[in-house]
Symmetry: C2
Subunit: 251 residues, 2 copies
C-alpha cells in the first residue's frame, strides 16, 4: 500500500510538539526504534512507512506497511542517512497506575536529548520501567529523543508532571517512601546508602543548574569522585546510579 | 599583545591532524579546557588567544595572552557560540614511563568524539590517569575531542599504540597483570570479578563492532543487564566499570 495524503500530512506534523499534541501521535524512525515500539505497543502503531528499495519487511504485518518512493521518503525523514523506516504511533499514556520495578528515575528540566536517550537506555538495560520528567525537560516523543533513546521509551513508563513537587506527591500517593536528589557537592554516598532503591524516586537535574524544582523533604545523594573534578554529566551520573541498583541485585 | 601572523597560521593549522602532527601542538578551546590545560601543563602553553571583549584574563600570565578582534576570533573559533578563549599548546608525550593509578582504560578503535570525551571525564572524575588508545580511534587532540572531553585529556596520561597487541605488550612490560575486554555478550561479572582493577588494562571497543584488535590472552568481562536489552553504548559501559573501581575503594 502507498501512503495516503492524510498519512503524509500526519508524518510531517509529528516533527513538531504542536503536531504531536494535536494528534496524540509521534514518529518513530529507525530499525531498532520501530522494533522496540512494535514489541511493546503493536496496537498503537498507526502505520509504518518503508522506503521503496527495502520492499515489504517481514517483521511487521503487511497491512501496516506503506511503500514510499525514495524521494518522498527522504523528504519525510528526519535524519541524513536514514535506515528507511518510520512508524507513526499513538503516544502511550502511563501517567497513572501502579509503579513497576524498584525505583523511579525522575528528570528535572533535563533539556538535552542525548542525555535523555542515555538515561533511558541505561534504565531499560537495568530492567527498570519508570522514567518520569518535569515540564521543561525535552519532549521524550520528539524525533531527537526517540532517536537518541533508540525507541526505548516505548518500553518504559514515561510520566510527565508540571513540577517536581507534583511529581513527588504523585509518587508518594503511589507508595514511594524516599526521594533522593543526585547532588554533585554533598549527600549520602550512593554506594553505601541502603535504601537508595527501596521504593524511591531518584531525581536527576539538567545541566548546568542541577535540580531546580522545589523538593524540601528530599535526601541528597552523591557519587564519590576521588579525582576531585566534577566533570561527569547528568547522563553519566544517572548511569552510575542505575547500575549500582543492578550490582546490588547481583550480589 | 596581538596575535602575530605566525600564531594565526598556527592556530588555523591545528584544526587538522596533519597540522597537529607537523607542529606537535594542538588547540584547546573553552574556559574549562584551557584551565585544565594550564593547571597541568603550564609550560606547554604557547599562547592564549582571548576575544577582545573579554579583555585580559586574570587567571593566566599576561605575556601568554593575545587579544584578538571579535571578527578574527570567530574565524579562528571552532564553535558556533564560543567562550572567547583558545590556547595553543604542545601535545604532551606520555607514551612511555611508569603507569600511574590502579588500572588502564584502553580504547580500541573508538571513533566517536562524544564517547571519547565521556570516558575521559569519567576516568578523570574517578581519579585515574591512564587512558590508552589504538590507531583507528579518534585523535584525542583534535578540536572535537578536546571540546567533548572539556580538556581533561591534559590531566590524563594519553598513550597511543598502533595495535591492541602492541598496547597490551607494552602494558605487560610496565607491570600489567591482567587484560580484560568489556564484552556485551559473555564474560566474568564486572561486579564480582576480584582482580578487575588490580594492575589491569580494561579494553573498551568502538561501536558497533566492539573490540576488533587481536588479544588472545584477555579475559572477558560483562556488565550484567537484567533488562535483556543491549542498549548501552561504549561510554556508558566504561562509566559503569570506572565507577565500580571507585565503589570498591570507598567500602
Amino acid at each position: 500500500m502507498e501512503l495516503s495524503r492524510r498519512e503524509i500530512a500526519l508524518l510531517r506534523s509529528l516533527s513538531t510538539r504542536t503536531g504531536r499534541k494535536k494528534s496524540g501521535c509521534c514518529r518513530c524512525e529507525g530499525i531498532r526504534a520501530v522494533r522496540e515500539l512494535f514489541a511493546n505497543y503493536p496496537e498503537r502503531v498507526c502505520f509504518i512507512a518503508i522506503r521503496e528499495d527495502l520492499g515489504i519487511v517481514p517483521d511487521y504485518p503487511e497491512e501496516l506497511q506503506r511503500i514510499v518512493p525514495v524521494k518522498l521518503f527522504s523528504e519525510l525523514s528526519d535524519t541524513v542517512s536514514s535506515q528507511g523506516i518510520i512508524a507513526a504511533a499513538c503516544i502511550p499514556d502511563n501517567a497513572s497506575g501502579k509503579i513497576i520495578g524498584d525505583f523511579v528515575v525522575a528528570l528535572d528540566q533535563l533539556g538535552d536529548p542525548g542525555n535523555f536517550g542515555t538515561i533511558a537506555r541505561s534504565l531499560r538495560a537495568a530492567g527498570q520501567k519508570e522514567l518520569w520528567y518535569t515540564k521543561g525537560s525535552i519532549d521524550p516523543w520528539g524525533d531527537k529523543a526517540i532517536r537518541s533513546g533508540m525507541g526505548v521509551q516505548f518500553g518504559l513508563n514515561m510520566r510527565r508532571f508540571d513540577s517536581l513537587e507534583q511529581l513527588t506527591s504523585s509518587g508518594t500517593s503511589l507508595g514511594i517512601k524516599n526521594v533522593f536528589i543526585a547532588d554533585p557537592h554533598h549527600g549520602e554516598n550512593c554506594f553505601n546508602c541502603p535504601d537508595l532503591f527501596d521504593h524511591s524516586i531518584i531525581v536527576i537535574g539538567g545541566e548546568p543548574n542541577g535540580v531546580m524544582g522545589w523538593c524540601p523533604d528530599a535526601r541528597k545523594v552523591i557519587i564519590p569522585m576521588p579525582g576531585r573534578y566534577e566533570s561527569i554529566n547528568a547522563a553519566q551520573a544517572a548511569t552510575v546510579l542505575i547500575f549500582e541498583s543492578v550490582r546490588r541485585k547481583m550480589i
